[in-house]
């Protein structure tokens, strides 16, 4: 029964990961890729962690599992926002940026 729960949850987690990756590959522009990704991979990792939570031997490992998931959400959420800000001005001149390897906000550099 416990194993069945784990199987279902990890399988669901994998599906979310797969969906996230699909979005990352298929979506046309940086921002939509970002959205697809952050939602999918955190949910995916959460489901996998949930599935494994019933397998851990002790409370310490359970705590670690929760901490790992919390950290992943925190990191992904914050970085997605930050990266989105970086990508934002770049949207204005995608072609030019793509040529020299990406945006780096040089126009705002002070002397």
């Amino acid at each position: 029964m416990i194993d069945l729960f784990t199987i279902v949850m990890t399988a669901a987690g994998l599906i979310f990961f797969a969906a996230g990756t699909l979005g990352l590959i298929r979506f046309p522009d940086t921002h939509s890729r970002l959205h697809a990704l952050t939602k999918a991979d955190n949910l995916g990792l959460g489901l996998i962690a949930l599935g494994l939570a019933v397998q851990v031997p002790g409370p310490a490992d359970l705590f670690k599992l929760i901490l790992i998931w919390a950290l992943a959400i925190l990191a992904a959420g914050a970085t997605a926002q930050l990266v989105a800000r970086i990508a934002a001005p770049a949207g204005l001149g995608d072609d030019e940026k793509a040529q020299d390897g990406g945006s780096d906000g040089q126009e705002r550099r002070r002397p």
Binding site: L71, L74, L82, G101, G102, R109
Partner: protein, 313 residues
């Protein structure tokens, strides 16, 4: 069966990441592939049962080195005024290097396949583990059986930092390491800089403390603590220390100094770096604690880089 499929897939992905990091034209892309490569290699170490190495790889390879390379890239771009050009390919040199790498790879692969049954020192380590003061065999090797290597390695880190400091401009000497970071209070970055450090501190200390019984130790814990410090400074909550700061310099050298002092004290027991079995346990923990401090300070200073001139801030 499924295990072989997993391992094979992992190997292919690793090779793809390594190849892309090497062959990619874009320096930024190469750095990203390097970070990814570190994550994948950590998994490979886990498959080989080397959790300690996986921890170090996750912390240093995937974590800190990536930050270091990104910072270096930004620095080059800043100095050159543009995105660093990818290394101009000199056909002759490239071909010669590739050929040499190929020959070496074939040689190593051939030698590896003809190796006899591996006969490591696990038996010897296990026999002497009780007298080493550590329950984790890796810690026993690092801090006791081959403590001299570890002591020298901790000094190698300092040498690297000195090397980076030699790159400072003369007029900037004594100032704060790296750039000044500013964030708006209440921004995502600033909040992130408040939430992460307590957790990181906990994890770092836990890794050091756990190191004598299970995978972990000064290098891994120190790396996590360095990362915490870096995040705090990048989030603008703290300033990087001045390179002339006494407290900073004390933190940098205290680990190696205490370890060296312990090594010299060993001559009263007839050799060098002798840890008496009765006291080895707490001695190792104490050395690990100070080493963690020094490693964390050194790694963070390596990432911050040399001090920058004041007027450019």
């Amino acid at each position: 069966m499924i295990a072989s499929i997993f391992d094979l897939t992992l190997c292919l992905v690793i090779l793809a990441a390594a190849g892309a990091a090497t062959l990619g034209r874009d320096a930024f892309m190469a750095v990203v592939f390097y970070i990814v490569y570190g994550i994948l290699i950590a998994m490979a170490w886990l498959r080989l049962g080397a959790i300690d190495v996986a921890l170090a790889e996750a912390a240093i390879g995937a974590g800190l080195t990536g930050v270091l390379l990104l910072a270096a890239l930004a620095r080059v771009a800043r100095k050159a005024g543009k995105e660093p050009a990818s290394a101009a390919s000199v056909p002759a040199t490239t071909i010669a290097t590739a050929l040499a790498a190929l020959v070496i790879t074939i040689g190593i692969a051939y030698a590896f396949l003809t190796l006899p049954e591996p006969q490591g020192l696990q038996g010897h380590v296990a026999e002497n583990l009780a007298a080493s003061g550590a329950e984790n065999p890796v810690t026993a090797v690092l801090l006791n059986f081959r403590g001299w290597d570890t002591l020298l390695e901790s000094i190698v880190l300092l040498a690297a930092l000195l090397g980076i400091w030699t790159l400072a401009q003369d007029e900037a000497w004594g100032g704060r390491a790296g750039l000044r970071h500013v964030t708006r209070p209440g921004s995502v970055l600033a909040q992130f800089g408040r939430i992460l450090p307590p957790i990181g501190l906990l994890v770092g200390v836990y890794l050091v403390w756990a190191g004598s019984k299970q995978p972990g130790g000064a290098f891994q814990g120190g790396t996590v603590l360095a990362a915490v410090w870096i995040v705090t400074i990048m989030a603008g909550l703290m300033q990087a220390p001045r390179v002339a700061d006494r407290a900073l310099r004390a933190a940098l050298v205290i680990g190696p100094v205490i370890f060296l002092a312990l090594a010299v004290a060993g001559i009263f027991a007839g050799a060098f770096l002798v840890l008496p079995p009765a006291h080895a346990g707490w001695l190792i923990l104490a050395v690990e604690a100070v080493l963690t401090l020094s490693i964390a300070a050194t790694l963070a200073m390596l990432v911050f880089g040399p001090p920058e001139p004041e007027e450019k801030r």
